[in-house]
C-alpha cells in the first residue's frame, strides 16, 4: 500500500539499479587538499572546457575564518590562478580548501527538471548531459543547488562534470582523480562494500553539502566544516 502512494518513483527520474550494477560515488578528503588546483586544471584540459574564468566543471574554494568570526571565501579562476590569504596569518582562526564538483546526486534535481530528458543519470549513477539533445533552456542550471552546471556558449547547451565517463569506459581514472597529488580525491562503486570509496565513507565521518535539500548527494566529504555551503 505504501508503495502505491510513493510519489518518489514518479517525481524523481533516477533510481538505484537493481542487481549488482556499479553505483558510482565520489569521496573528497578536505584534510588532505592542498589547493594546488591540479584537479581543476586537468579537468579543463581533458574535457575541452573554455579557459575563461566563468565556466567550470570543478573548482577549489579557499575558506578563511578570521579571529573575529568573518568568513571569507575565494576561488580565483576556480583556484587555477593560485591562492593568497586575504588577511595576515596571525588574524586567521581557521582556513582550509574545499574542492567542489558535481555531486552526482541519487535524487538529482537537475535530472528531475529537464523538460526534454537531456539531463539524465546513467545506469551507473553518473549524472550526464546529452549535448546533442539539450535545448539549452538552463532549467537544470537553476535547479542545481551546488552550482556545478553552466551553459557552454560555444554550443548553447549545458555542460557539467561527467566523472570523465569517456575515461571510465577505457579503464582510466577521471582526470581530477588522477591529477590530485595528495590522494584527496577518490571515486568508486558504492555497491561494492570493499571498494576504496566504501571504506572511505565507513572509516571517516563523512558529510554531504546541503543535506536538508535531500538531493542524496553521492559526493562525500571528510572534514566538512559547517561554514561550507
Amino acid at each position: 500500500m505504501v508503495s502505491l502512494l510513493n510519489p518518489y518513483k514518479f517525481v524523481f527520474a533516477t533510481k538505484k539499479p537493481e542487481g549488482n550494477g556499479k553505483w558510482y560515488g565520489v569521496g573528497i578528503d578536505i584534510e588532505k587538499c592542498i589547493g594546488c588546483a591540479s584537479c581543476a586544471r586537468s579537468c579543463k584540459t581533458e574535457n575541452d572546457v573554455l579557459a575563461e574564468p566563468f565556466f567550470f566543471r570543478n573548482w577549489i574554494e579557499q575558506y578563511t575564518i578570521t579571529n573575529d568570526g568573518q568568513i571569507k571565501v575565494s576561488s580565483p579562476n576556480g583556484g587555477i590562478d593560485g591562492f593568497t590569504q586575504p588577511v595576515p596569518d596571525d588574524e586567521i582562526y581557521k582556513t582550509f580548501f574545499v574542492p567542489k564538483m558535481c555531486n552526482h546526486c541519487a535524487k538529482s534535481p537537475c535530472t528531475q527538471v529537464c523538460p526534454v530528458g537531456a539531463s539524465f543519470e546513467s545506469p551507473e549513477g553518473i549524472a550526464l548531459v546529452d549535448q546533442n539533445y539539450c535545448i539549452g533552456c538552463g532549467y537544470c542550471v537553476q535547479a542545481c543547488p551546488y552550482g556545478c552546471r553552466y551553459i557552454d556558449p560555444r554550443k548553447g547547451v549545458v555542460d557539467k562534470c561527467t566523472l570523465c565517463y569517456h575515461r571510465l569506459e577505457k579503464g582510466l581514472d577521471p582526470a581530477c582523480m588522477m591529477a590530485c597529488p595528495t590522494g584527496a580525491r577518490l571515486y568508486g562503486d558504492l555497491n561494492d562494500k570493499e571498494s576504496a570509496l566504501s571504506l572511505f565513507v565507513k572509516e571517516n565521518n563523512c558529510a554531504v553539502l546541503k543535506p536538508q535539500l535531500n538531493t542524496e548527494s553521492k559526493l562525500f566529504y571528510n572534514g566538512l566544516s559547517q561554514e561550507v555551503h
Binding site: 524523481f12 527520474a13 574564468p53 528531475q112 527538471v113 523538460p115 535545448i135 538552463g138 556558449p153 554550443k155
Partner: protein
C-alpha cells in the same frame, strides 16, 4: 570575445563570493518577459470570464476586447522562450519527448490546450454567426477567408446561435481553471526549485496567478481606453468603473499574498534570510520597494481605493484610470523582474552577489523582449480589424 567582456565586468563587480559558474545570469530579460506575457493572457481572460460566467453585465463592452487581447498575447507567448533557448531549433523536443517529471515539459501541452481549446474556441463560438454574415457581405479574398474561419459552416439559424452560446459558456467555464493552470504552472516552475530560496515557496504559483490577474485587468482597461479614444467613441464609464473596482479587489488580494510571503520569510529567518535581506535592501531596492511596491501596488491601491468612496468627475476619472493601469502594468513587470533576476543575483553559497546589467545597445535580449511585447499590439490591431466587436450583429439573448 564581446560577450565575455560583460562577464569580465560582472567578475570585477562581484560582491563577496559566488560559485564560479554563477557569474553568468542564464535567465535574462526574455525570461522576465515570458511570465509577464502569459500573465497578461490569463488576466485578460479572467476579466472576460467575469462577464461571461459570473454575469457581471457592466463588463459587456470589454468582453471581446479582453478575449482578443488574450489571443494576441497568447500567439506571441512562446516566442520569448524559444528565442532564449541555447538551441532554439530543438524546441520541438518538448512536445515530442516531454520529460514528465519536469514542470517545464507540460508547457507545450498547456499552451496548445489553452490556445486551441479555450481561447480560439471561445472566440470562434462568439464570432461564428458574425463571420458567416460577414462572409456573405464581403467579396473576393475576404469572403473565402471568413468562410474558412467558420470551418465552412453556413448555418445561421436561431438554434445554431443558441448552441454557440451554450458551448461558448461551457468553454469559458473550462477556461477559468485552464487560465489558472497556464499561469500557475509558471509560478510552479520557480516555486519548485528547492535550490533557490528566493523562488522556493508554496506561495509562488498563487502569487504569480494573482499578479497575472492584476496585470491582465489593467491591460484590458488600458486597451479599452486607447481603442475607444482612437475610434473617437464614448467610453462606457460604468464598464471602466467596474473594471477599476475588480482591479482594486484583486490588487488587495495580490498585495496580501505578497506581504504574507515576505512576512513569513522575515519571521522564520532561515539560513537564506541574511543574504536575501541584503539583496532586497541593496540590489533590488529600486525595483522592489520603489517600482513594484510603490508604483505598482501602493499608489494604485490608494487611488483606486479612494475612488470607491468618492468618485470625481468623469474626465478626471479617465485620467486616473489611464495612469493607474500604466502603474500596475509597470509594477507587475518589475515584480517579474524581481523574481527572475533577483533570484539569480545572489549566490547559492549565500556568500555573495553577481550583477546583471541590461545592455540597452548591444543586448539581443533587450531588443527581443521589446519586440515580443510590441508585436501583440499589432496582432491586436489586426484582430480588431478582422473581427470588430462593434460591428457584431446584435445578440438575441
Amino acid at each position: 570575445m564581446n560577450k565575455f567582456e560583460s562577464l569580465y565586468e560582472a567578475l570585477a563587480n562581484m560582491d563577496g563570493y559566488i560559485y564560479p559558474n554563477e557569474i553568468v545570469l542564464n535567465w535574462d530579460l526574455l525570461i522576465v518577459m515570458y511570465p509577464y506575457v502569459t500573465g497578461l493572457v490569463a488576466g485578460a481572460f479572467i476579466l472576460a470570464s467575469l462577464n461571461r460566467v459570473f454575469d457581471i453585465k457592466a463588463l459587456r463592452p470589454t468582453y471581446e476586447i479582453s478575449l482578443l487581447t488574450a489571443l494576441s498575447f497568447m500567439l506571441v507567448a512562446t516566442m520569448p522562450l524559444i528565442t532564449h533557448l541555447g538551441q532554439p531549433w530543438r524546441f520541438y523536443e518538448m512536445l515530442i519527448t516531454p520529460h514528465l517529471t519536469s514542470a517545464m515539459a507540460i508547457f507545450g501541452f498547456v499552451y496548445l490546450w489553452y490556445l486551441m481549446v479555450v481561447l480560439l474556441l471561445e472566440i470562434w463560438f462568439d464570432y461564428r454567426y458574425d463571420m458567416v454574415m460577414w462572409s456573405k457581405q464581403k467579396k473576393g479574398f475576404m469572403k473565402y477567408f471568413y468562410k474558412a474561419l467558420t470551418l465552412w459552416i453556413s448555418d445561421t439559424s436561431k438554434e445554431s446561435r443558441k448552441t454557440d452560446d451554450k458551448l461558448g459558456y461551457f468553454v469559458t467555464v473550462i477556461g477559468i481553471p485552464s487560465a489558472f493552470l497556464l499561469h500557475g504552472y509558471v509560478g510552479f516552475i520557480f516555486g519548485s526549485i528547492k535550490a533557490n530560496p528566493w523562488w522556493s515557496t508554496v506561495m509562488m504559483p498563487v502569487i504569480f496567478l494573482f499578479s497575472a490577474m492584476v496585470s491582465g485587468i489593467a491591460l484590458v482597461m488600458f486597451i479599452y481606453m486607447v481603442v475607444s479614444y482612437l475610434r473617437k467613441q464614448k467610453m462606457d464609464m460604468k464598464a471602466l468603473d467596474t473594471i477599476a473596482k475588480y482591479l482594486f479587489y484583486i490588487l488587495i488580494l495580490d498585495f496580501t499574498l505578497e506581504s504574507l510571503d515576505q512576512i513569513h520569510r522575515i519571521y522564520e529567518a532561515d539560513e537564506s534570510f541574511d543574504i536575501l535581506q541584503i539583496l532586497v535592501r541593496g540590489k533590488l531596492f529600486f525595483t522592489f520597494f520603489i517600482m513594484q511596491i510603490g508604483v505598482g501596488t501602493l499608489i494604485p491601491l490608494a487611488t483606486l481605493g479612494f475612488l470607491q468612496f468618492k468618485k470625481p468627475r468623469e474626465r478626471i476619472r479617465k485620467i486616473i484610470y489611464w495612469a493607474m493601469s500604466v502603474c500596475v502594468l509597470v509594477g507587475i513587470f518589475y515584480m517579474r523582474w524581481n523574481v527572475v533576476i533577483g533570484g539569480q543575483l545572489f549566490s547559492k553559497s549565500f556568500y555573495g552577489f553577481t550583477s546583471y546589467k541590461v545592455d540597452l545597445i548591444g543586448g539581443t535580449d533587450v531588443w527581443l523582449s521589446v519586440l515580443w511585447f510590441i508585436v501583440p499590439f499589432f496582432i491586436l490591431a489586426f484582430l480588431l480589424w478582422l473581427l470588430p466587436p462593434w460591428k457584431k450583429h446584435p445578440a438575441e439573448h
